[in-house]
């Protein structure tokens, strides 16, 4: 009990550290640049409290429940050596963690709102939430596919730079035929997918896999999964935009 209280306090410190630089920079700008009193300060402060408490509970809970199971599974599967199950695991891991990623939930909702304001989708709660959910599902599928590719790469020892560069070329190619409105959201979805939930589990999978395979270097082979996870959503969202445009 005492131990978990200490971890909880440490997690709270971590979330505070996440928010502190933002608070400092914004306060400095308000005090020295704008020199105006900010309205709605109380609501902002209480919201900041929600963020710190929420992030703390979230990460604490992840550590208690999901991370130990996920990490031991990643190691067990890597040692078992069944490529089929590894690939299935990589896919569901990518999909599941991305659906639970808070930043993506927030951005998808915002993107839906922008689309409503611009009149590209209907102004109804149902259309808005189904657009947001659709976006999240596509990104989650993309991260699942990315991890499958990343695991294949580690097992088969393919070159990371060549795959990434090929991905870049595809992105540029798809951008030229994709509808203009989707491009910004697509590029952003790459950076959104890889935070709180995904990074620890995916890094455990990559480094665990690279250490249990013979002749692999955890440094050059273990990293790189996140790179796929931030490239693939761009491709999938662009492709989705193209498909929707044709329909």
């Amino acid at each position: 009990m005492k131990e978990s209280l200490i971890t909880l306090a440490r997690d709270a410190l971590g979330s505070l550290r996440d928010l502190l630089p933002i608070a400092l920079v914004i306060c400095a700008f308000q005090i020295f640049v704008f020199r105006e009193p900010v309205t709605g300060l109380i609501s902002m402060a209480s919201g900041a409290l929600f963020i710190v408490a929420g992030l703390t509970f979230f990460i604490f809970g992840l550590r208690l429940a999901l991370f130990p199971v996920g990490e031991s599974l990643a190691h067990a599967l890597a040692q078992k050596g069944s490529v089929f199950w590894l690939i299935v695991f990589a896919f569901v891991l990518g999909f599941g963690t991305t659906i639970a990623e808070p930043a993506l939930i927030a951005i998808a909702a915002e993107a839906a709102q922008v689309a409503v304001n611009a009149g590209t989708i209907a102004t109804s709660d149902e259309a808005t939430s189904s657009y947001a959910l659709g976006l999240r599902l596509i990104v989650a599928l993309a991260v699942g596919a990315a991890l499958v590719l990343g695991v294949r790469r580690i097992v088969a020892n393919w070159s990371l730079p060549i795959l990434i560069i090929a991905g870049y070329c595809l992105v540029v190619l798809l951008t030229t035929i994709a509808p203009k409105e989707i491009v910004g959201v697509a590029y952003d979805s790459g950076g959104v997918t890889t935070s709180t939930v995904t990074v620890p589990l995916v890094t455990a999978l990559g480094v665990g896999l690279a250490t249990s395979l013979k002749g692999r270097n955890a440094m050059t082979d273990g990293f790189g999964l996140i790179a796929f996870a931030s490239l693939m959503p761009i491709l999938f969202v662009l492709a989705f935009g193209i498909v929707v445009q044709w329909m």
Partner: protein, 261 residues
């Protein structure tokens, strides 16, 4: 209550997947069910609270900053011109704000600290924890600033992205092999759960406030900049380390040869 229910729904897939795997593939039942149940409750409540706070604070803050930084009266005071005569370089405070937000949040990012420490151990000390963190933070700061410039100037996003890709490809060819996967990963790691909503709101707010821009076409893209530029800066950090090494080798060699003479 609605929020809690929705976040339970968001977390459900990963929980089901992990436990199904544990049972079916590994063939082991779960050992500490109570701890996991408690953790799950924490996850759901935490996610709900976080999303609530996000809507109440981070999104409004990002938009408020964008609005204040592009306020005609404020711009008139700092740039000395009316909004219609402004050029992109009159928005200097926007770039300063973007740079400081990007730099400071990346430097403090817990996930990045963890990755930097792992890289430090795996590379046997060749990659410094602080060196990597500063490299990433510089990358994010510059990235977000250039992203804001693009929104204000209204230039197409994909030109910038293609240019960044080109630089990354060229650097990959010459950078030390050890740093390449780490560099590719660091971009995604540096943009945290707190930073992403804030800079998204900043971008959308800018696109709303600057005359002639549309949120739909110009508003997004800042997150992409924030996660791409660290790749360049971390690769550059690796190249710099090699260069410094080479210089010091040359220096010691010349010293040795001088002594021998």
């Amino acid at each position: 209550m609605d929020v809690i229910l929705r976040s339970a729904f968001d977390v459900l897939p990963i929980v089901v997947f992990l436990f199904a795997f544990q049972r079916i593939v590994i063939g082991q039942p779960l050992t500490n069910g109570k701890q996991i149940a408690v953790g799950f409750v924490f996850v759901v409540v935490g996610l709900g609270l976080f999303l609530l706070g996000l809507e109440q604070t981070l999104f409004p803050l990002g938009k408020l900053m964008a609005q204040q930084l592009t306020d005609p009266a404020f711009l008139y005071a700092t740039a000395g011109a009316a909004v219609s005569d402004l050029d992109w370089h009159d928005y200097i405070w926007v770039y300063l704000f973007a740079c400081s937000i990007g730099f400071s949040t990346a430097l403090a990012e817990p996930a990045l600290i963890a990755v930097a420490m792992k890289a430090n151990t795996l590379s046997g000390g060749a990659i410094g924890v602080w060196g990597l963190r500063v490299a990433v933070a510089v990358g994010v700061g510059i990235g977000v600033s250039i992203g804001c410039y693009r929104i204000i100037a209204g230039q197409p996003l994909h030109y910038f992205i293609a240019a960044v890709y080109l630089v990354v490809i060229l650097q990959t060819a010459v950078a030390p092999k050890l740093i390449v996967p780490l560099a590719y990963d660091s971009g995604g790691v540096a943009t945290s759960t707190v930073t992403v909503p804030l800079i998204t709101a900043l971008g959308l707010g800018l696109a709303e406030a600057v005359p002639g821009r549309s949120p739909l076409i110009d508003g997004f893209g800042l997150v992409a900049f924030a996660s791409l530029f660290p790749i360049i800066s971390v690769l550059a950090y690796g190249q710099l380390a090699v260069l410094r090494n080479r210089v010091s080798v040359i220096v010691t060699e010349t010293r040795h040869s001088e002594k021998e003479e």
